[in-house]
Symmetry: C2
Subunit: 187 residues, 2 copies
């Protein structure tokens, strides 16, 4: 086996998701993941700190994209416009990986410990978004409320997109969910 493996990270991720779905997350080891991907355990650990990072490693990138969008939003944008832009900034990367995201969701849905972790990660994400708004001069409670609204809208749209076979356009689901939320609050 050569040291350079084409798309090793993607192959490991795919092998991991299949094993997590087939035999359960808890039961799967890094050795098995590497084996199924036709790679060595050492290669696995060059790409991921542990088997959990296969599921949560991508979130750092998504967070960076969101925070970048908050920073570069026009001065005239309202807090909620900035937050919606932050959500939109993640869409292309997610849309490119739709099948992987779906598999990831089904693994997380099957494991309460992973669900807790996902929830805590989203809360952290929301905290960083609120902080980025504060850096733009938005005060509290507006900054925190806008970021938390983004959290709800994203979570709802994302879960529909990941689960419903017909729901293909994440960007449209985000807009739709936002308008549903507005309409509920007026009810």
């Amino acid at each position: 086996m050569s040291r350079w493996e084409p798309n090793a990270r993607g192959r490991l991720e795919q092998a991991a998701l299949e094993l997590y779905q087939d035999q359960g997350y808890e039961q799967t080891t890094a050795t098995e993941i590497a084996e199924r991907a036709g790679l060595t355990e050492r290669t696995f650990f060059r790409h991921f700190a542990d088997k959990r990072e296969v599921l949560f490693g991508e979130q750092e990138n998504l967070l960076k994209m969101s925070l970048g969008a908050v920073e570069s939003a026009p001065d005239t944008s309202t807090p909620i416009e900035i937050i919606l832009a932050a959500l939109e900034a993640m869409v292309p990367a997610l849309q490119d990986r739709r099948e992987t995201v779906r598999q990831r969701q089904s693994v997380i849905a099957a494991n309460p410990g992973l669900q807790e972790r996902e929830l805590l990660k989203l809360a952290q994400f929301t905290f960083f978004l609120a902080d980025a708004l504060r850096k733009r001069g938005v005060t509290d409670p507006e900054a925190s409320l806008a970021a938390n609204t983004g959290n709800i809208v994203f979570k709802t749209a994302y879960e529909r997109w990941a689960v419903e076979p017909g729901a293909s356009d994440l960007s449209r689901l985000i807009q739709q969910t936002f308008h549903q939320l507005k309409s509920i609050l007026s009810g």
Copy 2:
């Protein structure tokens, strides 16, 4: 020491909160709590399963009050009206215990593990509220969006109420936060 102790639960809670604040939650034992309250360890464990339950035991009651309000809301109520009624239903019990609630908040704010637990408990709470809406015939995503809105509004109002010296009326803060959220979404 007689077996019947007047207000043992309240005395244990107060002793626990003082110790958690003075020497830290992790460092405090059930034995110390009982000692400070002038009660036996056995009495402690008659009232609380462990030292964590001193902080989270009250939430079951609050949840019951909220779910009761969802069930008994008029048929003509909109989902968001029902959720606001569910939040209001907790106010008298919280208002009665304001000093205790404040102390509890400061203990939780000082401990990341307790913060995570609080967050997970709130998420569970939100899940139950959404479920109670579904039982009234509210469909998704409305049920989930309305319950999550309640979560944000409550969390924001509650934290201000627990922390700000001047913020004495929780009910008014809930209404105010709700209107701030509406105004942000229209922004």
